[in-house]
């Protein structure tokens, strides 16, 4: 790259700014930036102490630099994160589909997302926003679920599968039009902010998509099974709200049938997740059994490391071995986007799990699990299902989410500081965080806190504004 700024006198003023009576200004600036080694820094400090003009020059350079702290810093809206994740995920899915030579629907999806981003950038003004909000309230309140529902049959299948059986909280947002205002007024501030956030999400959707959702809502309302479908929709919404936005976006990028299968599978996986107590039992059992499925060379190494490791280190050793298996293609990567036509359970890679599911080790595990764990285990109908179950528990015990708490833990912070920081966030940011599951909320809050702390650190002038030479 040509370096004209460096070689030419100042291109805007046409002057050579170097004053021959002064020390090299690059030296002074590098000194202010903390870029000099100790000897050179000492040399500059001596110059400053000796010569008032140098002192004045350094101070003026520094004061001008400190004035840059007045420049505004961006604080992007949560919807920016959401729409970026969605765009990225869809674009990646598009690449995958393109690679498989199936571009049709994906191109449409991408165009939709592009339109979504354009919509995101522009403000929309409705003549009577409140009235519009009241009219759309049931839709707005369940916007994620509606967006993920391509047509009523999807919802019917979901209801039939039992994936969202259970009691749906009464959503007064679905009350008759005349009562919605009263319901809205009865919400506390945080609930109102939550509705506002969803409203923003809905209003930034492209007009075509808004129209589709309104039609879908009308279709559900007039269906014979409206009550059941609405309850399923509401539980689907609550579940979607707890997912990381990346996972929501990944679901969104699938076609209807694949999405249905994925949702059902995720719900099935959730139902067979281990309780914390069972997880502890499984972890300890797996540490003993897992090395037996490894290739001989790796097995010897892992067993040797495990023998010498403390209990805390053992999990990390297993995790590394699992990661190594993934990188060699012997195990599937977590969150690996499914290939076209693969709606069913993800294959457990080429690594044999035989030794893990032999009757003896399995009986040993079963004997230590709680009744719930035993019940889940007994539901596996054949070896393939057993293998899939064992790998899914291994992922729960040793996967990235488990690793996060220690490998990627953010530094400990003072709880009071964190509380104060939370109270300083905007209402929209607070609502966004409060809508997340507890562990995710804490992680995101800590990440924002650390980012702010890092920003403050960066804003602090490196040398302060002390008198040169002092």
């Amino acid at each position: 790259m040509p370096d004209d700024d460096v070689l030419r006198p100042d291109s805007d003023t046409g002057q050579d700014l170097r004053d021959h009576d002064m020390p090299d200004r690059e030296l002074l600036v590098a000194y202010l930036d903390g870029e000099l080694d100790a000897d050179k820094a000492r040399h500059v400090e001596q110059l400053i102490a000796r010569d008032a003009r140098v002192e004045s020059e350094v101070r003026r350079l520094e004061r001008a630099w400190n004035l840059l702290d007045q420049l505004p810093r961006a604080d992007v809206a949560p919807s920016f994160t959401e729409s970026t994740v969605e765009m990225v995920t869809l674009a990646v899915q598009e690449e995958l589909r393109a690679a498989e030579g199936q571009r049709g629907n994906a191109a449409w999806s991408l165009a939709l997302v592009a339109a979504c981003i354009v919509g995101f950038a522009g403000a929309r003004f409705w003549p009577d926003a409140n009235r519009q909000l009241l009219r759309d309230l049931p839709l707005v309140d369940n916007v994620e679920a509606y967006r993920q529902t391509p047509q009523i049959e999807f919802l019917r299948e979901l209801a039939k599968s039992g994936a969202f059986d259970g009691h749906a909280d009464s959503t007064a947002s679905a009350a008759p039009f005349g009562e919605r205002k009263k319901w809205l007024d009865s919400l506390n501030t945080e609930e109102k902010e939550d509705i506002h956030r969803k409203y923003e999400r809905f209003s930034h959707l492209p007009a075509d998509e808004q129209l589709r959702l309104r039609k879908l809502e009308a279709t559900i309302d007039s269906d014979g099974d409206a009550a059941q479908l609405t309850a399923t929709l509401s539980l689907f919404q609550q579940w979607l709200e707890q997912l990381p936005s990346v996972e929501r976006a990944e679901l969104m990028a699938l076609d209807g049938e694949q999405r249905l299968q994925r949702v059902k599978r995720m719900r099935r996986d959730e139902a067979r997740r281990l309780t914390p107590e069972d997880l502890q039992v499984f972890t300890s059992w797996f540490e003993g059994a897992f090395p037996k499925v490894l290739p001989p060379a790796l097995r010897a190494k892992v067993e040797q490391e495990l023998a010498a490791a403390s209990p805390d280190q053992r999990s990390a050793i297993i995790r590394r071995a699992l990661l190594s298996m993934q990188q060699q293609g012997l195990l599937p990567k977590r969150n690996q986007p499914p290939r076209q036509g693969q709606g069913g359970p993800r294959p457990a890679g080429r690594l044999a799990a035989g030794p893990l599911i032999n009757p003896r080790p399995l009986a040993e595990l079963r004997g230590q699990l709680s009744p719930h764990g035993q019940q889940v285990l007994s539901k596996a109908r054949n070896d393939a299902e057993l293998r899939a179950l064992i790998w899914s528990w291994a992922n729960q015990a040793f996967g990235p989410a488990a690793a996060r708490s220690n490998v990627l833990a953010l530094p400990e912070v003072d709880e009071d500081d964190l509380k104060r920081f939370f109270e300083q966030l905007s209402p929209v940011q607070r609502t966004h965080l409060l809508n997340l599951p507890a562990d995710q909320m804490k992680r995101q809050l800590l990440a924002r806190y650390q980012a702010k702390r890092a920003g403050e650190k960066r804003q602090k002038p490196r040398g302060g504004d002390a008198q040169p030479g002092e």
């Binding site: 700024d5 805007d12 870029e35 080694d37 990381p244």
Partner: protein, 218 residues
């Protein structure tokens, strides 16, 4: 006053895995999409801040930030930690912003030459002085006025000077890291920043002594 420090290299280049964001990016590479979201949360405000000051428009800055994140995600399979994650991210940001500014400049070339200065051109010191004269540095400035003056001063810099200043000031990046991000040598960055700081000092000269803030004065 500035503390002296060894400047030859960044510690993260010696051991990139010491950077928690590098470890997060490795998780992204290994298929953990939630780690990508966390990286976004950590960097989106910072990235948009730098891009907004560079391109001058919030909307365009957000579009470019999305493009940067998209490129990061697309490159995940090939990611090899060789420097701090922020250095890699801002290398991509620098490329994306340069392309955008170049194409904006090309679009302007084909337009009929305007008699007045476009808002995207860097201001000269003289223009700045003229523009700021109405603010009368002899009186106290409020925060918004001072912010406008500083923004105008930043706009006296050309694109590369501005990028180097933003990375140095907002991201606290060393010369070595800025050099990596901008595909230049550390020595060239040293000269670039020196020139940029002189220009800033010249542009802000009237405010260094007299342009105190109202609040500061009270």
């Amino acid at each position: 006053m500035a503390a002296s420090a060894a400047a030859s290299d960044s510690s993260a280049r010696i051991n990139p895995l010491a950077d928690p964001d590098v470890r997060l990016m490795l998780e992204v590479r290994d298929g953990n999409a939630a780690a990508f979201e966390e990286l976004m949360l950590r960097y989106q405000d910072r990235l948009v801040t730098v891009l907004e000051h560079l391109v001058g428009r919030r909307g365009q800055a957000e579009d470019l930030a999305q493009e940067v994140f998209l490129r990061v995600y697309r490159a995940r399979d090939r990611y090899q930690p060789g420097s701090k994650f922020s250095t890699w991210l801002f290398t991509i940001a620098n490329n994306v912003a340069s392309n955008a500014l170049r194409s904006r400049s090309r679009r302007r070339e084909v337009q009929v030459s305007a008699a007045t200065r476009s808002c995207d051109d860097p201001l000269t010191v003289e223009q700045l002085a003229q523009a700021a004269s109405s603010l009368m540095p002899t009186r106290l400035l409020d925060k918004a006025e001072l912010r406008d003056v500083v923004k105008a001063a930043l706009d006296t810099l050309n694109e590369r000077q501005k990028m180097a200043v933003l990375l140095n000031k907002f991201e606290d990046m060393s010369y070595a890291d800025i050099a990596l991000a901008m595909d230049m040598t550390p020595q060239a960055i040293k000269s670039l920043l020196s020139r940029a700081r002189e220009k800033l000092r010249d542009a802000l000269e009237p405010y260094l002594d007299r342009g105190a803030l109202k609040n500061d004065h009270a």
